[in-house]
Every structure is written in structure tokens, then in C-alpha cells.
Symmetry: C2
Subunit: 355 residues, 2 copies
């Protein structure tokens, strides 16, 4: 692993701030960025020139590998501000670890943890005015790495750019979510790249998702590509099913993103004494569960969506709606999680990290 | 479909040429580019400002969708110059059609055929000095499209850039090629994006291919992801097997790129009276074929690699070498194909197109 120069981050400040142009009450997810970004380039086998500088476009060669062969990975994290104006991250070590596993799978260099952490923390401190207090206000953090080496030959780049950009985000409220269960299209192959947070996994979902959108479904729940009988995950969320009083969710595998929200909810449920099973869930179980009333809830879990209740699902042209529920486990877990993240309640797990 | 402005291509000429700096006898594939490129932007629902201009880096926003969600497709074609200095393409309509199917699968806008053709032809005429005469000299053509819209939200971009860049290429001679047959990793899922020429399909192969490289194999031959028993294709080539005097190759599917070289070789073989079957080929057939002597040849077929004989393969830790052969069908087809492409022999199929 290359030496980090984390303690030598060069900081070039923006002459003015854009913050006054931003309506923090009406934010479209991921569309407004803060004044600065963190950047570091990988060249000649090492990470070089870590820099914080004004958010701005940059030059890319038309033959850059990322455009042709898709070496590109990212992460999604959030920063929260508490009532004392302290800034908190939620399990950042998990994101850094996952970023580096994605890097390995995509034949890209790992980013040293110290470099990642220092770059992120210094950037957050500089742009801290963009993190608003109060439940529901967050700063979405997007670390990413792209292949910048030249040449249209299908092998790994020898140059990369690592960047962190920041976008203020309101709680992602998606209204009533109806999902389509995939019967033909797939997100990931056995032995493929489904467990990596890599760009190509997302573009591949856009077309099937647009077909679902046309039929009135906001998301697709992916199934295993060989039989389309096992439920896997949604486009940017892992998925939980509540059968009677037991939560079930697909086990992680090389086809599924190992979500930080997913694993946190599992641990929270265990602590609350809620029964939880990590096992393959069959589409047929859902349909039976609707018929006999045992299927009580379905919800997605992810950093952007937090916990997102699902109202109903379609499978093979039939639509199944979930019963209305009073004692929603989804909403209970969501409240506990967001309160913990915003430091409104105790964090018995040690997941929240002050920067 | 948007209106094309193909007849209004703006041309900005490079003040000088880089051609004298290039050693045309020693070219690394895909690393040297000609003086100009073609560019056209998709904005507000239409293709705008088609321009030929000097090859140069361009500005990209850090939040450009291609970096985060991988909407990126490309094609690979070649131009040839004959003894009369005429410039020829090989089945360009097939590449344009495939480019636009890739676009649909990746939720990107199609490029009108006339715009693609006009942009390419005018670019080739301007940089025609870069196409050298003689068998083995070609100009590799790389049309590509990337999502340039801003924002880190996982849905399709509304802005795109289409570009064509050109790179002089010698015949791709890869020496002796040994391949590893995939037992764990995969290239494509059922219902996935394997049939699209999209960036993410390539990055996903780099890590498994690097593992194969370390064991002395240049390429991986991918198998179906569910059972790893059926042979599919290699990283940038379709694959043919000669069993006794019959050629067999996997049928196209949504997991396999529908190669122009592959389909051309099939038609050429038919015309020559060579038996050819498009059917699933099992790994076990190859092993039996080695043992009983019926497996005579394996070769890859693709625009960059042309026809590339394979010397041997490994499967489950065992290496199988093919017998030496006198009357190679691979080399026979390769010669016929390249002679046709370079206009050294007749083209009975009408595949070669003068620009
Ligand atoms: C494909 C996919 N699954 C699941 C998740 C949820 O993961 P996490 O909880 O770590 O945000 C995400 C998004 O982040 C994702 O992109
Ligand atoms: C995955 C893949 N398969 C096959 C091929 C061969 O296709 P074609 O003969 O059209 O070049 C290519 C390359 O072009 C490819 O990228």
C-alpha cells in the first residue's frame, strides 16, 4: 500500500460561498453541491497531492478509461449536526472498508483509510455551514474513484482520481412506494460485480426500472438471475420483509450490496428482541403471506432512503397490496435509527463518530 | 427521434498535425489518437452542435452521471485504405445498429444513423493521412457516448456526449494465447447487460482476468453464471471451436455480445462449405475433444483481435493443450477476412463500404 500524505492536504478556499443561493427546505436529492471538494490522484503507483479546493469541473481526456471500460466506484454516507454544532458520521469505517472491497473487485487501487478519513473530515469542517441541525437535515457524502488513465485498450488503468463531494439532503421521503418484482431482468450475476458499489451496476437497472415506472412502480426488487424466485434487493436499498413478527432479509452474497443500514437494522432488531432471519426469501412466500395475512410489512433500507416502507408489489402482472398496519416495525426502527444518527438518543453500539 | 443536423457539422481544424511524432511501425493498441475528434451533445431532448475539432481534453463536472452510475457505451470499428487511396469501412451499419441497441438497454438516447455516419465519414476524410495502406495497417475507430448530466441520484441522465476518436492500429498480434475457463467469476447475468457494449461489462472482467494473467493465461473464456458449464465468449472476442471439421460457437443471447466478426465468419464459413453450428458448447465437450483428438482448434473473433488462435486452455487447475495443426480453419478465415477488408480480394457479401 502506498504511503499516505494525509497530513499534507493542500487547501485552496473558494473566494465566495454559494450557500445563500440554496433553499434548504426544497432540495432535490443529489443536485446541489457545497463550496469545496476533496481530490487525490493516483499516479506512478501512489496517491498524490491530496487537495481540498473549490467545487468545479475538471479536465478529462476523451480516452480516459472510465468512459470506455467503467472502472468507477463510489460510496454514500451522511453527516449530521447535533444541537451543540458537533458533526457526526455513522459507521464511516464500514463505508471505507466497502469502498476498498469495491476497489479490489474493480481492479482499482485501495485508498488508505487515513487519507480517506483526513480528506473527508477536513472537507466537512471547511463546509460545515452546509450541515443543518434538526432531524431530517443531513449532508450526503459522495466519495468516488474513477479511472483517468488514457487509452482504449481493455485493461486496468494505471491512473485514478479519488474525490469526495458533498450535497445537502433532506430526509428522502418518497411517498408511497410500490415495487415490481423482477421476472426477466437482473441486476447481478453469480460471480459478478453485484456486491461492489460500482457505476455499471446502476446504469444496468435504469432501463428495467423505467419500464416499471411506466406501469406505476417506483422501484424494482431484483431476484436471482438464474430462477427469478429468490428476492435479493432494490436499486439502492436492501429489502426486509416482516412475516408475522419476524423480519427476514436476504443474506449478503456476491450478488448483493452489503448495506450499512441493513446490518445496523439487524443489530438493532436483535437488541430490541425482534426476531430476525437472514435467509433466502422466495417470491412465493410473499404471495402466500399476502393470501394468509402473515406478510405484514416490506421496507427498503439504505443511507439515502433510510427506511422506506413499501405499500405493495406486482409479480407476473398481478398487484398485491399490503394491509394497513398500526405497529409498524419499519417506522419504529426508522425513528430509532435517525434519532441515534442525529444524536437525539443514546448510541449503545458506538456507531456514531464525532469528527 | 430528434432531427439530425448532420449536414451542418462545424469543422475546427487543428493548427498542426501530430502525425510526424508517431512511429506507425510500433503502435501500442489504442494509445495514439489522430488530430481530430467528432463530438455531438444531447441536450433538451435533441442532438446539438455536431462538431469536428482538435483532439483535446474537455471539462466534466464531478457529479456527471457517467462517473457515478456508469451510463457509457461504445463501439469498435476499423477503417482500411486500399491501393487507390480509397477508404473503406467494414459493415458500419452493424456497428451503428448495435450502438443504438446498447443505448436502449442503458436508457440512453439513440444516435441517428445519418448523424453517426456523417460525423464518422467527415472525420475520417479530415484525418485520412492517419490511415496507412497495406495489409495489417488499420485505423481503429472508437465511437462512444457518456452521460454528462449533473447530480448524484440514481436515475438516467438527461444530457449526453457522443464522440468518435480514432487510433491507428497495427494488426493486433497477441502471440500464443492461452485461456482460462471461468469456474467462479462471470461476465454477465441472465436478464443483465451482457449483450450491450457498455463500459461496466469490461471493468468487471479486469480483476478475474488479472488473476488469470498471474497464472500465465492472457484471457478468460466466460461461462454461464448459473452452472459454469456452457462456454460463452472472451473479454473482447467471441469464441469458435473446431470439432473435427465442424465449427461451433455459442448462440447470441442477452449475455453475449453479438459480434460483427462472429457473424461475418459464420457467413463466410457457410459460403466456403464449412460446417458451422450455433449452439451451446459445454466445457465437458472440450475436454472430451482433447482426449479423443476431435477438438482441433479454438479461436477468438473480434474487430480488434481479428481472428486469434488459442493454443490451450485451463479448467479446474488442469491445462489442456491443442494439437499443432496444418490446415488451420482459423488462419484460412483470417486471411480471407483481412483480404476482403483491405480490398485485396473481392467482397461477395457487399460488406465493405467506401466512404
Ligand atoms: C444496490 C444498493 N443496495 C443497498 C444499498 C444500501 O446500502 P447502505 O445502507 O450502506 O447505504 C445501496 C446504497 O447505498 C445500494 O446502492
Ligand atoms: C465482449 C465482446 N465480445 C465480442 C466482441 C467482438 O465483436 P466484434 O466482432 O463486433 O468486434 C467484442 C469486441 O468488439 C467484445 O467487446
Amino acid at each position: 500500500m502506498s504511503t499516505t500524505q494525509a497530513n499534507k492536504i493542500e487547501i485552496i478556499k473558494a473566494p465566495t460561498t454559494k450557500i445563500n443561493e440554496v433553499d434548504f427546505e426544497n432540495l432535490n436529492f443529489g443536485s446541489v453541491f457545497t463550496d469545496h471538494l476533496f481530490e487525490c490522484d493516483f499516479k506512478n503507483g501512489e496517491w498524490q497531492n491530496p487537495t481540498i479546493k473549490p467545487y468545479a469541473p475538471f479536465m478529462m481526456d476523451p480516452s480516459s478509461r472510465v468512459f470506455h471500460y467503467g472502472q468507477a466506484i463510489f460510496e454514500g454516507m451522511k453527516a449530521y449536526k447535533d444541537d451543540n454544532n458537533d458533526i457526526w458520521l455513522f459507521r464511516p469505517d464500514e463505508n471505507i472498508k466497502r469502498f476498498n472491497s469495491s476497489a479490489v473487485r474493480m481492479a482499482m487501487p485501495e485508498v488508505p483509510e487515513q487519507l480517506f478519513t483526513e480528506g473527508l473530515n477536513q472537507l466537512l469542517k471547511l463546509d460545515e455551514a452546509w450541515i443543518k441541525k434538526g432531524l431530517g437535515n443531513t449532508l450526503y457524502i459522495r466519495p468516488f474513484m474513477i479511472a483517468t488513465g488514457f487509452g482504449v485498450v481493455a485493461n486496468p488503468s494505471d491512473e485514478y482520481k479519488f474525490m469526495i463531494i458533498l450535497s445537502p439532503a433532506k430526509a428522502y421521503y418518497s411517498g408511497e412506494v410500490k415495487v415490481l418484482i423482477a421476472e426477466h431482468f437482473s441486476r447481478a450475476a453469480n460471480g459478478g460485480i453485484g456486491a461492489a458499489k460500482t457505476a455499471g451496476n446502476y446504469a444496468g437497472q435504469f432501463y428495467p426500472t423505467s419500464l416499471a415506472n411506466k406501469e406505476g412502480f417506483q422501484q424494482v426488487i431484483w431476484t436471482d438471475d438464474a430462477t427469478h424466485t429468490k428476492l435479493e434487493e432494490a436499486g439502492t436499498m436492501n429489502v426486509f420483509f416482516r412475516i408475522n413478527d419476524t423480519l427476514v432479509t436476504a443474506p449478503t452474497s456476491e450478488r448483493i450490496l452489503d448495506g450499512v443500514t441493513r446490518k445496523s437494522l439487524i443489530d438493532m432488531a436483535k437488541r430490541e428482541g425482534i426476531a430476525i432471519e437472514e435467509r433466502s426469501v422466495l417470491v412465493s412466500e410473499l404471495i402466500e403471506g399476502i393470501k394468509d395475512g402473515s406478510l405484514k410489512e416490506i421496507f427498503g433500507a439504505g443511507t439515502a432512503a433510510v427506511v422506506s416502507p413499501i405499500k405493495g408489489f406486482a409479480y407476473k402482472e398481478e398487484y398485491f397490496e399490503l394491509p394497513k398496519i398500526e405497529d409498524s416495525i419499519a417506522l419504529q426502527l426508522k425513528e430509532k435509527l435517525t434519532n441515534m444518527q442525529h444524536k437525539l438518543t443514546e448510541d449503545p453500539f458506538g456507531w456514531t463518530v464525532k469528527i
